[in-house]
Symmetry: C2
């Protein structure tokens, strides 16, 4: 059992990394097997298809995103709006390290998939949406707390603002990938909370 | 000459549309030739590679984006910040029509490409960046005018805010694609200008 589940584990890790670097359509089952050191015959013992493996990889990346990004945002218990800014600052650090190691900013793995696949792969896009909704709970919680503390207007529409900040997060990651510039994320991070603090005229 | 340039023209149009629907890696030269009604032998008479054709398609989409989105934003000469909101409202209308016709919100063709390809296709990503920079001149001009009119703080960093609003635009388009929800763009459109109007505490 040990070796079998190791192989499945390695396939998930390899898939997540390859797709983050190259995109979903550019990665074949052969590529993943080679990267994971798993024979192609074994692949289909664990996963019915490349799509099934990708679903597991999205799940894995969702857990990692939560641990790394949300974990860093909450470290030392900063005020709620600061936590939102921290999500982007942490992403900037991760992308700096991606660029140092491999030459490229990779962007948000979820945003990349949704942009590449959309309606062509509804099962994957739905799973990506679910993962980002879970991730955005950290934004929603911060906004609710900010409201209780009076840091944002009482009239703030928390659901709409959560979507706006999630969109901003995704767009900033995309621009940083397009320009291969991790510092852009840090530069644009402080503006995120303006989506929450402005009383509409 | 007429028929030859017609064929090149049809290839560019078909490529732009197919890639907008399916992504770059999912579209092969055969697919484009079939959609354009052009023989594969002729393809290489006009374009050295799929990449070359894509460069022409990006150029074309840049012109169309400028005509359609920026054109609609300026119609009836609204105040500058309203023009920024209009860019998103027009995108919402376009995506509603995409969904009605084909079942799916397609997202920004430039954002999609950058997210899918990034560092794997530097020539394409660079061209996408150039196209979006041209598009974002409409945002920059609006911010400059808003500053002259006193609609935004005098201290506003126009370059940074242009990037922030472009990022927001791209992120909102991405979320709408992910959720196949064109109304989300309209709902989030009014928040774009908050990235410009808030004096930092």
């Amino acid at each position: 059992m040990g070796r079998k589940s190791d192989a499945a584990e390695r396939l998930v890790t390899a898939m997540a990394s390859l797709v983050h670097h190259r995109g979903y359509m550019a990665v074949g089952v052969d590529d993943v097997c080679k990267a994971a050191g798993v024979k192609k015959g074994s692949f289909y013992h664990f996963f019915a298809s490349k799509r099934e493996l990708m679903l597991a990889a999205i799940e894995r990346q969702g857990q990692m995103g939560k641990e790394v990004l949300v974990g860093a945002a909450f470290a030392n218990d900063p005020p709620p709006l600061k936590r939102i800014e921290r999500l982007l600052e942490t992403a900037s650090r991760l992308e700096s390290s991606n660029k140092t190691r491999g030459g490229h900013v990779l962007g948000c793995p979820f945003g990349n998939l949704a942009a590449e696949l959309g309606g062509s792969e509804p099962a994957l896009t739905r799973r990506v949406d679910e993962s980002l909704r879970k991730f955005s709970e950290s934004i929603r919680d911060a906004l609710r707390e900010a409201k209780r503390r009076g840091d944002v207007p009482r009239s703030l529409d928390v659901d709409k603002t959560t979507d706006a900040i999630l969109a901003y997060f995704e767009g900033v990651m995309l621009l940083a990938k397009m320009r291969n510039d991790p510092a852009l994320i840090r530069r644009l991070a402080p503006l995120a909370v303006q989506l929450a603090t402005q009383p509409k005229p």
